[in-house]
């Protein structure tokens, strides 16, 4: 099983990961529907990266049992079962479950890895089983 290793110190805040994610997963040119979050903090000068690390807390808090793990190890919210209560969004310690107009239900990283290819700064890399 793969995980994505996050190195915020390397992040330049360019949002190519988000643009790539949105293109790959929603066929949209925007950074605003991505399954990854980048939050700049200035003037101190740092970027927070919000990305699912497969901790599974969302699954444990979901009252509808809508969250499962797919064959890649990614957590997935089943649209048919999800009751849109927002418990997973609130409980996620990484603030890595997102809502946007691109989907009826919340969503998180699906481990497609498209962002990794386009992160030249290597703030995102594949990490083998921890």
């Amino acid at each position: 099983m793969n995980h994505i290793l996050v190195k915020p110190d390397n992040c330049t805040g360019c949002r190519l990961c988000q643009l790539t994610c949105s293109a790959q997963n929603f066929k949209l040119n925007t950074h605003k529907v991505a399954r990854i979050g980048i939050v700049p903090h200035f003037p101190e000068g740092r970027f927070e990266i919000h990305l699912c690390n497969q901790c599974g807390i969302c699954q444990s808090v979901c009252p509808a049992g809508a969250i499962s793990v797919d064959e890649h190890g990614a957590y997935v919210i089943d649209g048919a079962t999800c009751v849109d209560c927002g418990a997973c969004v609130d409980a996620c310690p990484e603030q890595a479950i997102f809502r946007s107009f691109a989907s009826m239900h919340p969503y998180m990283c699906n481990l497609c890895g498209a962002c990794i290819d386009n992160c030249a700064a290597q703030a995102l890399t594949w990490e083998e089983e921890r």
Binding site: D9, T12, G13, C14, R15, L16, L19, T20, S22, A23, Q24, K27, L28, N29, T30, H31, K32, V33, V39, P40, F42, P43, G45, R46, F101, A114, D117, N118, A120, A121
Partner: protein, 616 residues
């Protein structure tokens, strides 16, 4: 919906507080593409001839291109164009950061600012909601401070561009700031905003940019990034950015020192890219969709200031050119120029002129408000900056630009101003660099390196020679504008050698059109003729006399690797003749009516003929 475009132009009348949304037509998109070309066209078509740049009748055109805000690498440019209060001619100045994407997500490709408000205002674009709002709470605040304050008030998701006290006080080289430290730096665009009492523009948008082939664009982008990150150039440029060239410029003797009196700096190791990493580096920072992340965000412990940069041009103009001791001094000057909202290049040039005149005894201590304007005096330089921004004392004279200041001071001081068309030289000495000098001489905004950056080829082709250099500058002036027509940064092409054809492919994937390089280069020639036509219309007697290098270049370089080198009028004339020939302009450097018609500017030819500005 037109692929690659937000779809509308916002026309904002600040006098009547009226906002109109005009559609981007398929003809405008296809025939004029975007960015710099739109600015050149709208400026020629809509500005009344001879308009005073600081009057309500001047307009500001803020334009993106079809690639701005897209996934394509470094698609992070927005351009600010107006009739320049510094030069009296055409200016567009481009800015990186994030705001170009936000504007297109709000469904807007260009904003046209007209008229002038009586009281301080800011423009808020929040998708369909567009408002002119009271800005009295921010008036008087620094550029960067205003951005932080407005983000606190409006929310972090807004992207904001601001002016500082210098813009408010109509300093003719005031700049527009965004994303902490990205500037539309040159030509005084912020003074025009100041004259309109427009403190800031805040933008939030939620609509994705329509792309004809998003899958194809993603594939093309990933291939380009794979190329970029595996080049030998990438590790160095992403680490040092523009400052990487400092050592080379010093080696070949083109680093400006003490107002371009020398080309090599004894303290070079204290101001170069390496000194940034060792002394003030906080982190790398990237513009939108940029894999290069060339910007450095810094903190000077010595002065307690954050600054984005310093970039190479600031190191040159505010560092070696002022005789500053180390990168810390440059950082504090840069930070203060940024927050006052002043172009660090022209600010450096103005301070350098004041220091040279002081050292020569032409300006006395009394003249300069009691400051000891000796080379390297950072506290005097900081005070001088503030005098300019607030137009106090001698600062009021220099606030009109170094050339205007020399004309006011008189006593044959104009010869010490290193400029073309009133725009101060950026950081490449041209005592022995004919192509770079020709690029400065013929740039359509004045002496700015980004219109054609020929210094490396100059050295490689033989710096004493003028052979092939007219053609070189002509060719660069065809490729460079296209970057700003499309709305992308030039650095992936320039610094890591991403082939130009990749940009044409990206443009076609985004727009669904079938542009070719040949067609785009012909279009570029049309745009270059149009900005030349604007100068011809606006400036009495415009022509060859305005394409001359500064007097300093005719003085022999006293020392360093170019010792003894100087420019001669014969060389200048030879360069200009070949350059005008390449454009098929007349010997006075004016486009002929016939040539204007050939490049598709018949209406401009008719207009200039009617005004008696050109011959048939």
């Amino acid at each position: 919906m037109i692929n690659g475009y937000g779809g509308s132009i916002l026309r904002v009348d600040l006098t009547g507080k009226l906002i109109k949304r005009e559609p981007v037509t398929p003809e405008l998109a296809h025939d004029w593409v975007g960015g710099r070309a739109w600015i050149a066209k709208y400026m020629y078509d809509e500005l009344p001839a001879g308009v005073d740049p600081l009057s309500p009748a001047n307009k500001v055109f803020i334009a993106t291109g079809p690639l701005s805000g897209t996934l394509w690498p470094s698609s992070a440019k927005i351009l600010w164009g107006t009739k320049s209060p510094l030069t009296g001619g055409y200016i567009d100045s481009n800015m990186g950061g994030m705001i170009m994407a936000e504007l297109k997500y709000a469904g807007v490709d260009m904003i046209i600012l007209e008229g002038a408000s009586a009281e301080p205002v800011y423009l808020m674009v929040d998708d369909e909601k567009v408002e002119i709002r009271d800005a009295s709470a921010y008036w008087g605040m620094g550029s960067v401070d205003t951005e932080y304050a407005m983000k606190r008030d409006l929310g972090d998701e807004f992207q904001i561009a601001t002016i500082g006290p210098a813009g408010e006080n109509l300093v003719r080289f005031a700049c527009i700031t965004h994303d902490v430290g990205r500037q539309a730096g040159r030509g005084g665009t912020a003074a025009v905003l100041g004259s309109k009492r427009l403190k800031a523009i805040a933008i939030r948008g939620t609509k994705p940019i329509p792309v004809a082939d998003i899958k194809g664009l993603q594939k093309h982008t990933t291939a380009a990034i794979d190329y970029i990150k595996n080049t030998a150039f990438f590790p160095t440029f992403s680490k040092y950015g523009t400052t990487d060239i400092t050592d080379w410029c010093d080696d070949v003797g083109v680093l400006p020192v003490n107002n371009f009196q020398h080309g090599q700096y004894a303290k070079k190791d204290r101001i170069n890219g390496k000194s940034i990493r060792e002394n003030i580096y906080v982190r790398d920072k990237g513009c939108y969709a940029c894999p290069l992340g060339c910007s450095t965000y810094s903190y000077s412990k010595k002065y307690g200031v954050y600054v984005e940069g310093p970039e190479y041009e600031t190191i040159g103009l505010m560092g070696s050119n002022l005789g500053m001791d180390s990168i810390e001094e440059i950082a504090v000057l840069n930070a203060e120029a940024d927050n006052l909202g002043m172009d660090s290049i022209s600010s450096g040039s103005a301070i350098a002129l004041a220091m040279e005149l002081y050292e020569r005894g032409i300006l006395t201590k009394d003249d300069v408000g009691g400051l000891d304007m000796t080379w390297g005096n950072v506290s005097a330089a900081r005070s001088f900056l503030k005098l300019i921004a607030l137009r106090q004392g001698i600062g009021a004279t220099f606030a009109d630009g170094a050339l205007a200041a020399a004309r006011t001071i008189g006593r044959d001081t104009e010869k010490y101003v290193v400029q073309v068309k009133g725009l101060d030289y950026s950081a490449y000495d041209t005592h022995a660099a004919p192509a770079m000098m020709l690029a400065y001489m013929t740039s359509d905004i004045g002496a700015q390196h980004t219109r054609a950056w020929a210094i490396v080829q100059d050295i490689n082709m033989g710096r004493e020679s003028t052979d092939g250099k007219g053609k070189l500058v002509y060719d660069l002036q065809h490729l460079r504008p296209l970057m700003e027509v499309l709305g992308v940064c030039r650095f992936p092409w320039l610094e890591v050698k991403l082939d130009w054809e990749n940009y044409v492919t990206a443009l076609n994937l985004v727009t669904g059109q079938h542009y070719t390089t040949e067609e785009l280069f012909a279009f570029s020639e049309k745009v270059w003729n149009l900005t030349r036509a604007f100068w011809t219309r606006e400036v009495d007697g415009f022509g060859r006399a305005f394409d001359q290098p500064p007097a300093r270049m005719f003085e022999p370089m006293p020392d360093g690797p170019t010792a003894g080198a100087k420019v001669t009028q014969t060389m200048v004339d030879q360069l200009l003749d070949r350059y005008y020939d390449a454009y098929q302009w007349d010997r006075n450097g004016l486009p002929t009516a016939g040539r204007l018609r050939e490049v598709g500017l018949g209406y401009v030819a008719d207009d200039l003929l009617k005004r008696g500005r050109i011959a048939e």
